[in-house]
Amino acid sequence: MSTSQGLRDWLLSEEPTSRRQARFASWYKGWLTLRSNRLTMFGLYVLAFLILCAIFAPVLASHDPFAQDLGQRLLAPGENGHLFGTDSLGRDIYSRLLYGARISIYIVLLVVMVAPLVGLIVGTVSGYAGGWIDVLLMRITDIFLAFPRLILALAFVAALGAGIENAVLAISLTAWPPYARIARAETLTIRNSDYIHAIKLQGAGAFRIVTKHIWPLCISSLVIRVTLDMAGIILTAAGLGFLGLGAQPPSPEWGAMISEGRKYILDYWWVATIPGIAIFAISLAFNLLGDGLRDVLDPKEDNS
């Protein structure tokens, strides 16, 4: 008890004595801010739960997610030991849901690593450099924005080949323009501020200014946008799967499960509804978490 109290005092000290202590202290304070927001913590719990489900899917699953049993098809939830029922080919929906969590989290991670990063780089470079670089990059962005998103993604998938990775990559490549626009708008307001002039007068180059001084200020608005887009991204991945260009049929991807259940939605509601609830849960969790993260990333709104 006394050591944990000592640790707490060390972390919350008004006058940190070393850079390491100051860094740990700011993380700890960020965590306290995050923890004080109940909705955010709810989102974090849901997300942690889904991630644990994905990791321990082989242990938790009651059936083989790919095993078909036409005699057991379209069973209602709870019947014959199928917790969430079975789909049109008699596969256990509960087990498929667990394995599907792996795919959904994989999609999310892949998109989060590609689209906002591309948008951030393009937007900040464009906004900071100005002149012909700005014109060139923004017209390219316009071209990407002008295409219907799904059709552009289709074209990419057709060129790269079908499969979940390529589908996500295609979605990321079509999703970056809005991020670039946001990052550019932020950069334009930041680039003429006195603190950028000041670091320029210290002899900092453009690369350092963009990555170390402009990026940290753009990231919070991008995080919000990413979390809002997350649900749409999962659904677009599902849409591509439905068209036969994303997740391929036996794979238990949630969106593909919904499109399979579409045919039976009036008589066998659970086939589409249960993966729908899962998508809803992960989207909601990301939105709540994103909202709380913004508060942590923005030390200006410090109430202490």
């Binding site: 006058e15 603190y195 000041a198 007068l201 210290q202 900092a204 001084h213």
Partner: protein
């Protein structure tokens, strides 16, 4: 030897028919260790001169020599280690996501200073901030403390010339006096040359030996602070400025 020589400086904004001159035919020089004030109304071009010297305004013509180095369109690395600037608004001149430590250590890192850890302690001490301020964010500091941090950042590379752009006008009166006294002390300790912009004749009189009076982008006249105190101005505009400043004190 002159620390700063400015000869026939013109600065303009806009292109083609929209081009308007903010500074016209300005000539002055500042001796080593001298403190030179630029006064005038808002929009008279005083800050623009500082920005042109610092290299923040690319559109200028004329001749500028700073610490023996004739300035071209780009500033060299050695220029930045000799000349630093303190900005008007301490609320805008510090990066909102960086601690004092980060600001100062980055400035020193860029200038290749060694023993950054101990130097930061000294620097904070120099500007009258204790070690407790080292890991604070700007939003945890008052206006006067922020301006002290901005001054510390300007001093991080041990420059010989400081450009002060109304360093006290965004602060309230008691804090203004503190910052002015700090600037006086620092100048004595570090043998600095100041070029200071202000619209407050009292502030300039406290810190400077000579002042240049500006109106509409031009120099009305350059006079010593003693002459200013004796109200021995030549040009009618300066006389008017002095009178109105005296009246406002009454």
């Amino acid at each position: 030897m002159s620390a700063v020589t400015v000869n026939d400086l013109n600065v303009w904004f806009g292109v083609g028919a929209d081009r308007s001159y903010a500074v016209q035919n300005v000539t002055f020089d500042v001796d080593d260790g001298e403190s030179f004030g630029l006064v005038g109304e808002s929009g008279s071009g005083k800050s623009t001169i500082l920005r042109a010297i610092a290299g923040l305004v690319p559109t200028w013509s004329g001749e500028m020599t700073v610490a023996g180095e004739t300035l071209g369109p780009k500033r060299s690395k050695s220029f930045y280690s000799k000349v630093q600037m303190v900005f008007q608004d301490p609320y805008a001149s510090l990066h909102p996501r960086q601690t004092v430590d980060r600001v100062l250590s980055e400035a020193m890192g860029l200038h290749g200073v060694e023993n950054i850890d101990t130097r930061i302690g000294q620097l904070l001490d120099d500007v009258g901030l204790g070690p407790g301020f080292r890991f604070r964010y700007p939003h945890q500091l008052s206006g006067g403390q922020r301006q002290r941090v901005a001054i510390a950042r300007a001093l991080a590379c041990d420059p010989s010339i400081l450009l002060l752009d109304e360093p006290t006008s965004a602060l309230d009166v008691s804090v203004q006096a503190e910052i002015l006294n700090l600037l006086v002390d620092l100048r004595r300790e570090h043998k600095l040359t100041y070029i200071m912009v202000s619209h407050d004749l009292g502030v300039v009189g406290h810190l400077c030996e000579r002042i240049g009076v500006m109106k509409d982008g031009r120099f009305e006249e350059v006079l010593s602070v003693e002459a200013m105190r004796r109200s021995e101005a030549q040009s009618p505009y300066t006389k008017h400025l002095l009178e109105s400043s005296i009246n406002s004190i009454r």
